[in-house]
């Protein structure tokens, strides 16, 4: 039935193309705005001087190391989480993994320092290990620590999702063959992990590559400077849109190069052609492995929860009741939630369209996932400034600042959403395409009967991660925010900037709690479906 198959393919390819067009338009518009302004003001392209060379080298070095220290432990952590699907508090622990995403970098950095800092909780212990007083973690170690705090949980969550795609039949087979834990890892778990690693690695790499506040605040001095700092400087203090665009281009090129490298390490998904028939049941776990996993889980959760607890403790000291009843706080909370909801839906739709447009077995599977992550190498503030310049004759108010912020946030969340949706979509496509074709199932019916049930949970995960990310965003809002259009992080920074540290801490707690609630809610929705 070649015609039927083609008609299915065309519709999907069209939606993928449409999604690409939306992304290209958003980025292209910004680029056009910057370039136009650059040439209008007679700017010239700057050379690649010694300063830029040093900054580029440091940017790459810290991003590569940060990726390593985030992703490698995440493999162990995700595996331990996967092997123990029923321990007490597991659902809450999983929700906790999304919480760092919603925290503004400065809040997270202060949380990390509350533990590891010069005057941190662990300082006495660390001081007794070395000689003299604990100097704090400033320098590369501090940057790595904070990046791991942000990205280890993220990587673990996505790797866990990858492990969940291992068909139940493989587990049954492993059990029947009596494979040892090591053999199981090598033959069952590793292939799934390896498929996901390039994408997850690229995602983490992008996030560390474009890190700004963390790098400056914990880097200890300007020797630790990333390209993102240079971009910000070009746009802010020097107001040189052309240079900003140029540096952004350099950053995207670096990110692209790394993504390519990673994609070569990955393998194309072989896909499981037959739908699973057996119930999901993992092999028995010996006491030794249980103890080891417990230790890994304890360390991993402690590492993530420690700074979060410090943030929560500082927040509880604030006058939360008064904060809740303040009009600006309630308005900002409403704005934040609406924006997060809209941009998460947008990002998820885009991710779904991209996945469906490109789903063909074999080939450059790894590349598409990592390609989406490239969007992250474009700083939101650059997109914002570009659009501002492009719309200038009629002022940004024409399109509505909320619309622009939501679109930019959606774009930034897209790589996360794509990460969540794509593997599941590919697995589903390779499992069901033939069956659907032979049954003549397509369009809405196929979606309702075949795709929706398997994609519901990944889609909800995409939604909740995108929402968490948008909730914490400070990039787009920095340009379009005003006293009439504020989000919670915007309000938080504004309080922090006028001595109201306690208010800021309280807002951070509210922000984190809102994020947890969102993630738990989406988890609940996904679960209800699984039980139905």
């Amino acid at each position: 039935m070649p015609t039927l198959a083609n008609s299915v393919g065309n519709g999907r390819r069209l939606s993928g193309l449409l999604a690409l067009l939306v992304i290209a338009a958003l980025l292209g518009g910004a680029g056009a705005g910057l370039a136009l302004e650059g040439f209008r003001s007679g700017g010239e392209l700057a050379g690649f001087d010694a300063y830029l060379r040093r900054v580029t080298a440091f940017t790459l070095w810290q991003a590569a190391l940060s990726t390593l220290v985030s992703v490698l432990p995440a493999i162990l952590f995700a595996r331990a989480l996967h092997r123990h699907p029923n321990f007490f508090g597991r659902r809450f622990a999983l929700a906790l993994l999304a919480a760092p995403l919603a925290l503004p970098a400065v809040v997270a950095a202060l949380g990390v320092l509350a533990l590891w800092g010069r005057a941190g909780l662990l300082a006495p212990v660390l001081a007794s290990l070395g000689d003299g007083a604990w100097p704090g973690v400033y320098g590369l170690s501090g940057i790595l620590l904070a990046h791991a705090f942000f990205n280890l949980p993220l990587a673990a969550r996505f790797l866990l999702a990858a492990l969940d795609t291992v068909p139940a039949d493989q587990w049954r087979l492993a059990r029947q063959l009596g494979l040892s834990p090591l053999q199981t890892f090598r033959l069952v778990e590793w292939p799934a992990l390896r498929r996901a690693l390039p994408g997850v690695g690229a995602l983490v790499f992008m996030l560390c590559l474009t890190s700004f506040t963390i790098v400056l605040m914990l880097g200890g001095g300007p020797a630790a400077t990333t390209l993102e700092v240079a971009i910000y400087q070009a746009l802010r203090f020097d107001f040189d849109p052309l240079r900003a665009a140029q540096l952004t281009f350099l950053q995207v090129a670096l990110a692209g190069g790394f993504a390519l490298l990673l994609a070569r390490l990955g393998v194309a998904a072989a896909g499981e052609a037959a739908p699973s028939v057996s119930r999901r049941q993992l092999g028995a776990i010996g006491p030794g492995e249980t103890a080891l996993n417990a230790l890994i889980l304890l360390l991993g959760l402690g590492f993530v929860a420690g700074p979060l607890l410090a943030v929560a403790r500082a927040g509880l000291a604030a006058d939360l009741l008064r904060l809740f009843w303040e009009d600006p706080v309630r308005q900002a909370a409403a704005t934040s939630l609406v924006l997060a909801f809209v941009s998460a839906v947008l990002a998820t739709i885009l991710a779904l369209a991209l996945a469906s447009g490109g789903a063909r077995r074999g080939g450059r599977l790894g590349m598409r996932g990592t390609g989406a992550a490239l969007v992250l190498a474009v700083p939101p503030v650059v997109i914002g400034a570009g659009w501002f310049l492009l719309l200038r004759p009629r002022s940004a108010a024409v399109l509505g600042p909320a619309f622009l912020v939501a679109s930019v946030n959606a774009l930034m969340a897209l790589p996360f959403a794509a990460r969540a949706v794509q593997p599941a979509w590919e697995a589903a496509a390779s499992r069901h395409d033939r069956l659907c074709r032979s049954l003549g199932l397509r369009g809405w019916n196929r979606w309702r009967i075949v795709d929706w049930p398997v994609l519901r949970r990944p889609l909800l995960m995409a939604l909740s991660f995108s929402a968490a990310l948008s909730l914490g965003d400070l990039g787009a809002i920095a340009l379009w925010g005003s006293d009439r259009f504020q989000t919670l992080p915007f309000l938080l920074l504004s309080r922090m900037g006028s001595y109201r540290t306690a208010d800021a801490a309280g807002l951070a707690l509210i922000l984190g709690a809102a994020c947890l609630a969102l993630v738990l809610l989406s988890d609940q929705l996904g679960r209800r479906d699984a039980e139905a």
């Binding site: 040093r54 400065v106 950095a109 202060l110 320092l113 509350a114 800092g117 010069r118 005057a119 704090g136 400033y138 700004f212 506040t213 400056l216 605040m217 914990l218 880097g219 200890g220 001095g221 300007p222 020797a223 700092v229 910000y232 400087q233 746009l235 802010r236 203090f237 107001f239 500082a314 600006p328 409403a334 609406v338 924006l339 809209v342 400034a385 501002f388 310049l389 200038r392 004759p393 002022s395 108010a397 024409v398 399109l399 509505g400 909320a402 619309f403 939501a406 920095a478 925010g481 005003s482 006293d483 259009f485 920074l493 504004s494 922090m496 900037g497 006028s498 001595y499 540290t501 800021a504």
Partner: protein
Amino acid sequence: MRPAFLAICTAAFLAVPAQAADLTIYTYESFTAEWGPGPQVEKNFETQCRCDIRFVSVADGVALLNRLKLEGENTEADIVLGLDTNLVAEAEATGLFRPHGVEPQGLRVPGGWTNETFLPFDYGYFAVVYDSEQVKAPPASLKELVEGGPDAEKIAIQDPRTSTPGLGLVLWVRAVYGDRAPEAWAKLNERVLTVTPGWSEAYGLFTSGEAPMVLSYTTSPAYHRIAEGNERYKAAPFSEGHYLQVEVAGMTAKGAGNPHAKAFLAFMTGPGFQDVIPETNWMFPAGRTEKPLNPVFQDLVEPEKTLSFSPEEVAADRKAWVDEWLEAMSR
């Protein structure tokens, strides 16, 4: 979806049409916050002029100038309020401002005021603020701060590439050390805990106890004393003098055609505006006041000498001085 939620969504996503106001003032965020000077100033001026003013606020002074550059001649601003003297030359170079034409009475900015485009509304001095529970012998001069060595109490400073106080410290060191500034920075580097992108991050490190000293303003302790009843944080007087920061406002080309704009600038240097400043913006009033200053302000560090460069000097050398800082601090 619930109808209420739907309503919020629609409201947020429809372009909010610019409300017709008689006077539009661009300023920074903390000016218009409910605890800032904005609300009171708005009330006072509106009773005087029987007109309606609208504030549009962005993050800070630098963002303010950038917003103006982004909008160019299409800006809706009549008045831009909240640039500091270091940005004045650059702001004038945009060609978007017009002379204010106001003869202000009773300006009291240290060093006097002659600029014809911008008028000052408040001023303050940069200072090293310390936690008296952690620092028993605070530095008495910039020299003592610089030469403290690696074992002395650490300080959190801001990056001059991204923040106004950061640039302030670069200018301060330059004003005291002149061409020997790079050596001073190399020494001070041993004492710097970290360099943050902005004031908030450094001050957060300070109030969380992580940094015992921070670069801030002589007026910072006034906030803690008046608003929190807390005497723990103090500013250290430096014998070489303190670097001055003056905040100014100016009128755009659009504002030049609006009679309320000039009236506002005249109002700004008088008591209806100036009385509000000290305990909302935590700076010193630059014009005539009627209410006496809170006694806490009398206790603050009063610099023996005021240090400052002209806007033109800053505009000409800023880049070289920041590069110098970068070079010395990157080792």
